[in-house]
């Protein structure tokens, strides 16, 4: 397995140096701005702090822990779900001409309780209200639609604005009481009068009772008429209009549960081909299925698996190979998978190995036993593409998150923390020291805080704006505005 190491060349560090160098001239006058990509001073992205949402209190309730983050298709809206079953939607404010240097900020647009805790009396089990995933539908009219799911139930929410209200009813008086039609002598046409903007969220569909096991993924199809929900053993296809039926398209439950050795961990539809989807497994494999082939897609069209490296074999090999997230590139040509230690990019046309492998935190390889003992080895990290599929991002521990530039092969480690939270402050690259001698700004592996994990991140569909969930806080970073 050829993975390039992220030892020396820090994306952000180089960019900072380049920026400084290019702005100084021996004679004292500023040099003209270098054209990006030409010459020695490549303009890499510098990330700056923009906003943070959430409380600063140290004693946070578990309900506030963010469990999913998702931009909508235009990037105008940013949704988060939390362990308490709530959804908070932020909206980007319109950029004003007065504040050129401030890109649009995200402010709360709507908050609602999506799911409530439930109890399955038949099995004496609690059903968590935690929102596992949110997926937006493309906008087709003035209202916004999103899917949110917990372990068992998917809901379609409509978020709409109301800024006018009708006045002048004939059959109702001002207090809303019905009038006796016999008393009406004249008719008037009701008029719409402006009112304070109200954003309301209403559940339009509830898709329940279709999953025995825990739902881990939902994915909207490119036909915008159907979507899929995947649990540990099955994947169901739904039509948005029909809530009492779903098609089962994948079922890997063995007849004898004793023989169960593999579960589904994530699933996603192809961005353009409405008949194609992929799902990943706990054994590190990805299957691509074509719904045209058969009704039940138990036989895959393609099977992606990398042969195991025998020199790295240990008791934990299978656990760390378990894929926690799978994402199609925007182009639809590649898929990206995240396992415990790496992110891999696969070409749909090559099944026997990934085309790129990036080490997220390989220094943890020698700590797997402790991470197994404290359960961290089961953490499920997500991964995301940027809008142009040139950079990928994923989270790590100690509130670190990593970005890998697929073209320049450079990477950077950044941190989401309150200390780096001055407005427009440039994020300083972080470095984890593995060996003996620790340099001044480095942090040693043993000092990492494994309770601060960044599992959920999102990238704006077309701009360099990222949302990073750090436990109960949501950080928004943007690239430096020149």
């Amino acid at each position: 397995m050829v993975g390039w190491r992220s030892q020396s060349r820090d994306l952000q560090q180089d960019a900072i140096l380049a920026d400084r160098a290019s702005s100084q001239d021996p004679l004292g006058s500023p040099l003209p701005k270098m054209i990006p990509g030409i010459g020695a001073f490549t303009q890499d992205t510098l990330w700056c702090f923009s906003q943070v949402k959430g409380t600063m209190e140290t004693g946070t309730t578990e309900a506030d822990i963010i469990s999913t983050v998702e931009f909508n298709h235009t990037g105008e809206l940013l949704a988060t779900g939390d362990k308490g079953g709530r959804v908070v939607i932020f909206q980007r404010e319109q950029e004003s001409k007065n504040q050129v240097h401030r890109r649009g900020e995200y402010n709360v647009y709507s908050t609602f309780q999506s799911h409530e805790p439930e109890f399955d009396y038949l099995k004496s089990l609690e059903i968590e209200e935690k929102i596992n995933k949110i997926r937006w539908l493309p906008q087709q009219n003035a209202a916004y639609f999103l899917l949110s799911t917990n372990d068992k139930t998917v809901k379609l929410w409509k978020v709409s604005e109301r800024d006018k209200r009708p006045e002048g009813y004939n059959l109702k008086d001002e207090e809303g009481r019905l009038r006796d039609p016999a008393t009406i002598t004249t008719l008037r046409v009701p008029v719409l009068r402006p009112m304070d903007l109200m954003v309301e969220a209403t559940p339009r569909r509830v898709f329940a009772n279709a999953h025995t096991y825990h739902i881990n993924s939902i994915s909207v199809n490119s036909d915008y008429e159907t979507y899929m929900s995947a649990d540990d053993l099955r994947i169901n296809l739904w039509n948005f209009e029909i809530t009492n039926q779903s098609f089962n398209i994948v079922d890997i439950k063995p007849a004898n549960m004793e023989e169960l050795t593999e579960v589904i961990t994530a699933a996603e539809f192809h961005p353009h081909h409405c008949n194609t989807f992929v799902y990943s497994s706990s054994k590190g494999t990805i299957r691509l299925c074509d719904m045209r082939a058969s009704a039940l897609c138990d036989r895959h069209t393609k099977f992606f698996e990398e042969p195991e490296d025998p020199s790295n074999r240990s008791f934990f090999s299978e656990i760390i190979s378990s894929i926690s997230d799978v994402k199609f590139s925007h182009s639809g040509r590649y898929i990206m998978t995240r396992d415990y230690l790496t992110v891999k990019v696969w070409d749909l046309n090559m099944e026997n190995r990934p085309i790129e492998t990036y080490q997220v935190h390989d220094y943890l390889r020698s700590k797997l036993c402790s991470l197994y003992e404290n359960d961290c080895i089961f953490d499920k990290f997500e991964c995301v593409w940027n809008g142009s599929d040139s950079v990928i991002m994923t989270g790590s521990y100690n509130n670190f998150f990593r970005m890998f530039d697929r073209n320049t092969k450079r990477d950077v480690t950044l941190e989401a923390s309150r200390e780096n939270s001055k407005p427009r402050a440039i994020l300083k690259p972080r470095k984890v020291c593995v060996g003996g001698k620790r340099r001044k700004d480095e942090i040693s592996v043993d000092s990492l805080d494994f309770s601060k994990k960044i599992l959920h991140t999102a990238w704006h569909p077309s701009e360099n704006i990222i949302a990073v969930a750090a436990t109960n806080n949501l950080y928004i970073f943007q690239d430096k505005v020149n």
């Binding site: 825990h214 549960m257 004793e258 579960v263 008791f315 359960d375």
Partner: protein, 198 residues
Amino acid sequence: MVGGLKRKHSDLEEEEEDEKWDWGPAGLRSYQQALLRISLDKVQRSLGPRAPSLRRHVLIHNTLQQLQAALCLTPAPALPPEPLFLGEEDFSLSATIGSILRELETSMDETEPPQNPVAPPGPQNEVLPQPDPVFLEALSSRYLGDSGLDDFFLDIDTSAVEKEPSLAPPEAPHNLFCAPGSWEWNELDHIMEIILGS
């Protein structure tokens, strides 16, 4: 994940850093036994009011299988299928399996190799809590369906970490929901026989 704890040195970590750590056959076996203990502990701890994560469960089970293979155990004979695992019988069987797991933990602690200087900080003398009937009810009719959680571990032969077979059969745990001489007692006896490999 148990709480939001900063990572602390496990007993295993300390053993790894100990210069006297022996990666010879005895040390490796000790390591594997420790992993086995951790894995079984995870299984027990995962039984709570919420349905356990199937993914986590499958991964732990697969790891246990590898450990079993590494400890060079012969696989346990398959238990007779139907009668033991249906309906209300699940209730007492679950209690049985639960107590067997506890027995194993205790016995594993007692069979730590003497040359290992680091005493495992397990809950050796802790009084284990009485299984709650509601808890066991949940355990028996897990969301896994007809077969219970216990089915995963039927093929795990943990005799390597058991007491020597030459010892007298273990006394029945007092918190078991059955009386000596009852049919449940006979089932327990039968299962203990298989696990001890006698």
